[in-house]
């Protein structure tokens, strides 16, 4: 085996950059989370208040509500994206006329900025100017108003997220599927395995690393979504789409509650890490055992 020194040299730039732009700002946020602080006030002093912020968060209904809404959003959006993304990736593995054109078209939403996606969907769904409520009403007699109906606002955000991010899942799964060796599939077909058996016993275990990576990226991005939702609904109506990212944003900017906002961030980051770590261990550990 090669010397470990080379390994560390290759790792060093990444570790240094992430330390200065990830770890240090985080330590700062942890420090602030023990204070009461409004940096935008006339006298921006930090007042140490111990664990008061942390005590408050446990009984904070607004926080618990946004936690619930976020979990629901993540489950609906990420699950749909995985299923649709996988089916499309498999469909793209076959040859058909115009394949590369269709693949390019499918990937287009990815190149749009979240803030722009938020504005477009707002323009399409806002009652009185939006095209979707207009035709829903004209063709089906359904009235849709994301400004007053909580389910409508929530569903719009889920659909917007699926529209925007499914291509990412498709792309990473295509990359994974393409790099798979052919032999196990041919062998399985010779042995008379059906499609379901091939999927569960061959495809799925082999694409698990890529799948876990994809779930992570989508999960954590969904957990910290701000721009799109802020643009589309601003967290409303009421607090029905006030996801954690939006909740923190509201706490920090309009309310200038920086200390408490930091506390929520620390907790959210901690929860995210724990959830992801559990997923990581439970999904990757069995695979390693089988290998060893």
């Amino acid at each position: 085996m090669q010397s470990n020194k080379l390994g560390w040299i290759l790792l060093a730039p990444t570790l240094v950059i992430l330390f200065f732009f990830g770890v240090l700002p985080f330590l700062y946020v942890v420090f602030v989370s023990f204070h009461q602080w409004n940096p935008f006030a006339a006298s921006p002093e930090m007042i140490f208040n111990g664990a008061e912020n942390f005590r408050r968060i446990v009984f904070d209904e607004a926080f618990l509500n946004s936690l619930g809404v976020t979990v629901m959003f993540v489950v609906f959006a990420v699950l749909s994206e995985l299923v649709i993304g996988y089916l499309l990736a498999q469909a793209f593995m076959k040859e058909f006329p115009g394949k590369s054109i269709f693949r390019t078209i499918h990937t287009l939403p990815l190149i749009m900025a979240p803030i722009i996606v938020g504005s477009v969907w707002k323009l399409m769904t806002t009652p009185s100017i939006g095209i979707i409520p207009h035709y829903l009403d004209e063709w089906f007699g359904i009235s849709m108003n994301i400004g007053t109906s909580a389910p409508a606002a929530f569903m719009t955000i889920v659909i917007m997220d699926i529209w925007h991010w499914t291509p990412l899942v498709t792309l990473t799964l295509i990359a994974a599927l393409v790099s798979l060796p052919r032999d196990p599939f041919e062998q399985a077909q010779i042995d008379g395995a059906n499609k379901g058996q091939i999927f569960w016993h061959i495809t799925l275990p082999m694409i698990t690393p890529a799948l876990v990576a994809t779930i992570f990226i989508r999960l954590m991005d969904a957990l910290r979504t701000v721009d799109e939702v802020w643009m589309l609904t601003g967290g409303g109506p009421g607090s029905s789409t006030r996801f954690l990212g939006v909740h923190i944003f509201k706490e920090v900017f309009p309310k200038t509650n920086y200390g408490y906002g930091s506390t929520i961030s620390v907790i959210v980051l901690y929860l995210t890490i724990v959830v992801c770590w559990l997923l990581y261990v439970s999904m990757l550990a069995p695979r390693k055992n089988r290998k060893g």
């Binding site: 992430l18 060796p181 990576a213």
Partner: protein, 278 residues
Amino acid sequence: MKKRNPLLTTLFWVLISLMTLFPIYWLFVISVKPAVQLFSTPDLIVNNPYWGNYTEVLGNRLLRSYMINSLVISTGNAVLCTVLGFFTCYALSRFQFRGKESIFFWTITNRMAPPAVFLLPLFLLMTQVYRIGDFTLLDTRIGMILVYCTFNLPFAIWTLRPTIDAIPRELDEAAYVDGASPWKVITEIVFPLCRPGLAVTLILTWVFAWNEYLLAATLTNFEARTLTTGLSEYVTTTGTEWGIMATISVFTLIPALIVFGLVQKHIVAGLTFGAVKG
């Protein structure tokens, strides 16, 4: 494999494409409407397009400089993240050392941070700590290139890892036996084999950096301001200029489309590579 009806396949993809394209088409429709028409009944087809928004945006010198900043920052960041991500994944894949799985997991935790609350610490660190004499990273292109690493570098590492893990170690070892240096193995054996994964990583990190809004809005002022932040200048207290915003959005889409089109070929090349490898 059973044969599929090609007509049905095409119909399926046309339908998917229409659903995908509609919001983008609608953006274009809005950009060629004068403000007064926005609030009338929505028409699917524009009969007489109005180009006023376009002449206004094109004539704006500030927006042009924002666009150049966006291009420099996102390209710099994408290249940096892809190269560093590649080195990191190579180290994680080929070397045995304690805690390497922890390092791998730790990198991604940097991406999990809720952005709103990290703006201020980054701002303070960049103005007060990371400075050489009068030079601060704030409002500089290099500063933004580095800041975007926080969320893009972990992304690059996590998307590249499976690709590099899938390349057989025997290839590296054979090259070492033939007397190649580690640098040669990395650049001439592993790097070319990773091209499909690298291409995907490069486009996506580029796009994420190009599209970023919140950090750019806080950490740039004039010198390194990006195109997406230019958007927010049209959301004012007196109301939103939807037409102009849609037009700027169309302009943010064009370079992304071009970059995308350029790299698409490499993904296709990658697809054939995958097919022969098995």
